[in-house]
Amino acid sequence: MIATGIPKLDDYLHGGVPIGETLVYYAHPGVEGAVFGMQSLFHALSTGISGVYVASSTEPRRIREQLGEFGWDVDAYGDRFAIIDAFSGLIGADSHERYVVADPGDVRSLTQCIHNAMEDLREPGVLVFESLSTIMDLCGESETLDAIEEWNQYAMLYDHVMIYNFTAWPYSDDTLLSIKENICDSTVSVGGIVGDVIFGQYFGVLKANWTDVVRKYILFKVLKPGGVRAYIPKILVTGPFDAGKSTFVHALSTRAVSVDRFGTTIALDHGHVDHKGFAADIFGTPGQERFDPIIKLLSGEAMGVFLVLDSTRSEDFARGKQMLEITRSFGLPVVIVANKQDCDGALTPENIRDKLDMPENILIMPAVATTGEGVFEAFETLIDMVTGV
């Protein structure tokens, strides 16, 4: 298996792409698809696997810069990394790459380079195509489809993994169907939520010959540096007054802001989390009853909820349960954070479950928000629940 390095995708693919098999990132126009192939390439390099990038619409120097913008220094991997330059010939520029396609408009010329690179690669290796659609535009649809079958056979023969970035411009239906369903062992759709504009981006596995497909779509954002991050647009943090919600939000967040007065939240806390391939925006509610109308406003469209409780104040637990009702969060993934576990008299999560009369399937996790202890464990648990793994 060669992992893709895309958060959650490797879980859905049961570890990644098996040696000798192929994957296509099938991206809709206008969506950031190319970064998926780049991230998979860099992840392979960083785990000791050789990688080749087939550049068809960008100068090799610029590709190195683009990778650098994501924080991926591919040159550090020496001769384990190479570029097949199928671009410079197109604009009549010189190339100093190891593999140069003399005539990018001739698919046989490209095939020869790919064959040479596969022979030279240390096994196993990964070949990532910057843009299959550009090759198709230059070389023709049927010619490229025939060539892909040949390249995929080479991959099987030489124990490499092929990864293609493909932008689904309005080609013929046969071509699109072939790319989407037939020509590769697996297909990952990279799409956009299209309204008047593209509001958000998602990916999901459409097909994987080696495993059952998990029909789940993950929203994502692209960060520089960082690359693809699974994105949870809204996680709610609620709980009674003085339970430590703001401290919890700040402990989790790479950046956060609180609207408070004399240390008490009167409007909201907002934080952005960037942790282990996941990005999320978290919104903390005030705890006092007079702010309940604000809580209702804040809680719309949340994808998961933290209920933060002060483990030493069992008299506030009923209020906590009431706040879950106010946020209309029943049915959403919920993690109860048993905060202030370092304080005298703190109840254990199991004691709290008894007092709250919560069923076993609601997770209650211990935490000390002031030190950060347990906060990321709670975050990872909620993310797993939201993403369904």
Binding site: G30, E59, R62, Q66, F87, D137, W169, G192
Partner: protein, 230 residues
């Protein structure tokens, strides 16, 4: 929701342009199509529109400077430029708030992503509901990619302009392409701004907005104004 070109006589004759309209501007070299494109974009800024310009002929900074030179109060936060030139000249410029760098005019996928990012930014973060997209020029893109490829790209983005109730302006150099190319591309557009040479200089007219084309007008470009005569 309607748009005006910012070319007074033509605007009077064709009336308001309905949202979702895509317009081809075609004319000979050195007829100041760059300026006319920018003037149409500038009218958008005056009308509180967002403006996205795909520049394949001039570095993004030059395009931005045009607006700053002629309008000291220009709202730059409503301008987005997809620069397809700077990196092909070998400069390693980074994206800014106003200028996003595409790898090259070949990289239609990348250009499409940058356009979408600006549209999302203006729609979602700035709550702007009227947008103008100006691609200057399709001719450069056609130098690197074949007609079918460019047609596919435009098919997607003219559709997006309709969906977003935007106004699209697409510039083509007359004389650089065969008749088949022009006829093929025309299918995607709702109207045309035509420019031709004359004894006096150049003339302009609008086609497809009214039952008959407007008359030809001699014109002069003066900063953000275009003065029509005749």
């Amino acid at each position: 929701m309607t748009y005006k070109l910012g070319i007074s006589r033509l605007d009077e004759l064709i009336g308001d342009i309905k949202s979702g309209t895509n317009i081809m501007m075609i004319g000979p070299p050195i007829s100041r199509k760059d300026d006319i494109t920018n003037i149409i974009a500038h009218q958008g800024l005056l009308d509180a529109n967002a403006v996205v310009i795909v520049s394949t002929r001039e570095p993004g900074n030059n395009v931005l400077e045009w607006f700053e030179r002629y309008d000291s109060d220009v709202p730059v936060d409503r301008i987005g430029i997809v620069d397809c030139v700077t990196r092909t000249l070998g400069f390693g410029a980074s994206d800014t708030d106003n200028i996003k760098m595409a790898s090259s005019p070949v990289d239609l996928t990348g250009i499409g992503v940058k356009i979408s990012q600006f549209l999302e930014h203006f729609w979602m973060e700035m709550q702007l509901r009227e947008t103008r997209l100006c691609i200057n020029s399709l001719s450069t893109i056609l130098m690197y990619s074949n007609l079918q490829t460019v047609f596919r790209f435009l098919h997607v983005f003219t559709g997006r302009m309709k969906a977003a109730n935007a106004l699209g302006i697409y510039v083509i150099e007359e004389g650089m392409h065969d008749e088949k190319t022009i006829v093929t591309l025309k299918q995607l557009f709702d109207g045309m701004i035509e420019i031709r040479g004359s004894e006096e200089g150049y003339q302009i007219r609008a086609v497809g907005f009214t039952p008959k084309p407007t008359p030809w007008f001699d014109y002069e470009v003066d900063g953000t104004n275009i003065v029509l005569r005749g």
